[in-house]
Chain length 120, copies 2
Amino acid sequence: MREEMIKSILADLNSSSTDIEASAIISTDGLTIAALLPGNVDEDRVGAMSAAMLSLGDRTAIELSRGQLEQVLVKGDNGYILMTHVGDEAVLTVMAKSSAKLGLIFLDVKRAIGEITDIL
Amino acid sequence: MREEMIKSILADLNSSSTDIEASAIISTDGLTIAALLPGNVDEDRVGAMSAAMLSLGDRTAIELSRGQLEQVLVKGDNGYILMTHVGDEAVLTVMAKSSAKLGLIFLDVKRAIGEITDIL
């Protein structure tokens, strides 16, 4: 039930821009809570890499006096991965094309997180 | 000599915005090439965390089909760390306040990298 509610928010997020290719809510230990991924994207791989990046990001933010970690953005020449904390227990991971307008994606992600926080 | 030339580019970068607090050029194995850091920021710590984030970012970009890694951004509630590849051998790490305008910092970083690439 909660999974379906979260999936419906992820569906809204994915359809908010054609540049968003995939999104997933993952527990901070790397397990999928809900995901809307294209067939060629492995769920476990997204979970594992998101949890690893967030964990190292947490430590980097603390070591370099940036406070509590909110977000990690990875930019490759073939697109973006944006990982955002949802409370203390979960992460929203979004994969977007390189043509994506980052400002718009930050906005859409913020809105989705507000809605997911109410459910989790 | 090259260190001084790079330091002068970093000085321009740091002075381009009052929101940029520190910048450094680091080898991909985490050793400082040139740095302009405030006294309370440890050079070795910046080097170690930048190299670790870039290395995991490289792997994340490949595993999730985002291509060759260009940049990793860490956002904490107390500011940003932006790590950008400079060729294959080095990383430009910039630390900025949470009030920073990201678009402006991306631009200034891009310009600095163009100049540093010519020197390295």
